[in-house]
């Protein structure tokens, strides 16, 4: 085996330019696969992380936003009706809007989350990598025109930094800043503003409407059973099980995962097409190679090689070319992936899109490139091995 590799290395070194051109298709194909899939899995990981931050004991009730189905309206009474369900520890209704927020003469559009002030800390302050305070305090019982700002909403959104004790104008009303959160790395969270749900709905005339409901399950309860109870209760109240969904964090992660699998498959498929073109390129060059190396084949046969030796020599060439193309494509793809990262960080902000070349992806691309090499080398190698010695020497 090692002898075949040695021989192939000589061949490739002897025809550097041709080998490189042969490989270009594979290099580009693998590069495309690696960079595209890395974007897909980066997006997936980012979203997963975001969802994991919710906490693994949480159930989310949310209107379904989809074409063809009218989403239902969630109201306070729906949230209240869930409170006494068995296994439910805690129900926190949330209302969100995107609102103009003014500070120091500058107005910005920011996402505002309204939460029951009493439940704010319990809703957002618990679970893995959730919020912690950088300064000030959480919202508390009876807080009305008070806000807590996400890290970036305080530090970056306005020309002057907003500090605890400052006053901001939210949709024309004055609010006192009572707290600022530490950086979470999630751009969406860091640019958000948190206030009382009642005040927020008053300002926006939202009545008793809710955007979603976060439920925490009692310790020791089976989250799936609780989810079913929540579903049943809502179905009874709303008279339908359409137009909203009740999901545990795990389910959300799964559904997101499968959505991104589709993205990855589509991206990978597109790149795969270019790989097929690359494979045809290898096969084509290899066939020309056989014609061009007829004399060499004749010499090998006259030196005592049999057909299997010749076949293996040519297959090794193809395999080596494939894996070399794979390695080069992987390196370039990694470079592209890093470049996308830097660009995303620069123009979209930190943590929005972090591409990642996983070890699985790297291994897959190498194996795939090797396979492409071998498959496209199969027929040319067979042709080479079928040459008659005398015929080959006559070339």
């Amino acid at each position: 085996m090692i002898e075949y590799l040695r021989y192939s290395l000589r061949t490739i070194a002897h025809h550097k330019m041709r080998s490189f051109l042969t490989l270009l298709g594979v290099i580009i194909g693998i590069m495309a696969i690696v960079s595209m899939v890395s974007v897909g899995s980066g997006m997936e990981q980012a979203l997963r992380k975001k969802l994991e931050d919710l906490g693994s004991d949480k159930i989310v009730v949310s209107p379904r936003i989809a074409y063809g189905t009218s989403s239902i309206l969630l109201v306070d009474a729906d949230a209240e009706a869930l409170e006494n369900l068995q296994g439910v520890a805690f129900v926190s209704p949330i209302y969100t809007v995107t609102s103009d927020v003014e500070y120091g003469g500058e107005t910005q559009l920011l996402k505002v989350l309204g939460v029951d002030p009493e439940k704010a800390e319990e809703t957002f302050g618990r679970g893995a990598s959730s919020y912690s305070l950088l300064a000030g305090r959480w919202l508390g019982r009876g807080d009305r025109y008070k806000v807590v700002l996400g890290y970036s909403a305080a530090k970056d959104a306005f020309p002057r930094e907003v500090s605890v004790g400052s006053r901001v104008r939210l949709h024309g009303r004055e609010f006192e800043v009572v707290g600022v959160f530490s950086k979470t790395g999630d751009r969406d969270k860091d640019y958000s503003v948190y206030t009382s749900i009642d005040v927020l709905r008053e300002i926006f005339g939202a009545g008793e409407r809710l955007t979603f409901i976060i439920i925490r399950v009692e310790k020791g309860s089976d989250i799936e059973q609780v989810r079913q109870r929540v579903e049943e209760r809502l179905k009874r109240r709303k008279g339908t099980d359409k137009g909203y969904f009740v999901m545990t964090q795990q389910e959300i992660i799964q559904s997101v995962g499968s959505a991104y699998t589709v993205v990855k498959v589509v991206f990978g498929g597109l790149a795969g097409v270019s790989l097929i073109v690359g494979a045809i390129g290898i096969a084509n060059t290899m066939i020309m190679n056989v014609t061009e190396r007829r004399r060499e084949i004749g010499i090998l046969l006259a030196s005592g090689a049999d057909r299997m030796h010749v076949m293996r020599i040519f297959l090794t060439d193809a395999a080596l070319l494939g894996i070399a193309g794979g390695a080069a494509g992987l390196a370039l793809g990694y470079g592209v992936s890093r470049a996308i990262n830097l660009a995303a960080e620069r123009y979209l902000g930190e943590g929005v899109l972090t591409t990642s070349v996983t070890p699985e992806l790297a291994a897959f691309s190498l194996v795939f490139a090797l396979l492409v090499g071998v498959v496209s080398g199969l027929y040319p190698a067979y042709r080479a091995s079928r040459l008659e010695p005398v015929e080959a020497l006559r070339a």
Partner: protein
């Protein structure tokens, strides 16, 4: 007998024309013999040489190399016969250009499964034997024609074959390097190898103990 041919006929087809290259050749070459095969081009010399080296199969008739009947052998078995029994020297040298002199000489031993270290050691010895101990790591393109042909002779000896088949070995060489190649081949014959040379060069051909004259695919006469 090193090589024995009986009623050998070789026909091949080029396009629609069937060429009868050999029309019934019988020839016995004893071990250790020094044979020259001469004749005009197209007389079937090279075809005969290819058959004697198991590079090709006869259309009919029998070819035996060192007592082994070639008809009925598979491609793989033919390769084994070439590997063990025959060393070839060609007019075009036929070295592999990407390999060094040493690697070219070691090549036949790769196929017969000799370990790398032994292969390299023996290849070096053989190159020293042909007077190229100082050119071991040179590529063919860096050597003169005479040197390349000596590398080819060293390669022919790699698997210690009984028989050396040389097809116009001096055809591409100037007189002095041609003479050197002749001397080298004759030395090998003196050491016991059966030497068969196809040549146009009558002066070279006359040196052989057994001289085969060919015309139109037949043996015209055998002189001893």
């Amino acid at each position: 007998m090193a090589i024995s041919l009986r009623d050998v006929v070789k026909r091949y087809r080029t396009g629609k024309v069937v060429v009868e290259a050999l029309r019934g050749v019988s020839l016995e070459i004893p071990r250790g013999e020094y044979v020259s095969i001469m004749g005009p081009s197209g007389s079937g010399k090279s075809t005969l040489m290819n058959l004697m080296g198991a590079l090709d199969r006869p259309t009919s008739g029998s070819v035996k190399i060192d007592g082994i009947e070639l008809s009925g052998l598979s491609d793989r078995e033919l390769a084994v016969v070439r590997r063990r029994k025959v060393g070839f020297v060609f007019q075009q040298f036929n070295l592999i250009s990407k390999l060094t002199a040493l690697e070219n000489v070691a090549l036949p031993m790769w196929f017969s499964g000799v370990s790398r270290s032994r292969r390299m050691r023996r290849a070096r010895e053989l190159l020293e034997l042909v007077g190229l101990g100082h050119r071991v790591h040179h590529k063919p393109s860096e050597m003169s024609g005479g040197e390349q042909q000596r590398v080819a002779i060293a390669r022919a000896l790699a698997n210690e074959p009984e028989i050396i088949l040389a097809d116009e070995p001096t055809g591409n060489l100037d007189t002095s390097s041609g003479m050197e190649v002749v001397r080298l081949l004759e030395e090998l014959n003196a050491q016991g190898k059966t030497l068969v040379v196809v040549t146009h060069d009558t002066q070279f051909g006359r040196r052989a103990r057994m001289r085969v004259k060919m015309r139109d695919g037949q043996v015209l006469e055998v002189e001893r």
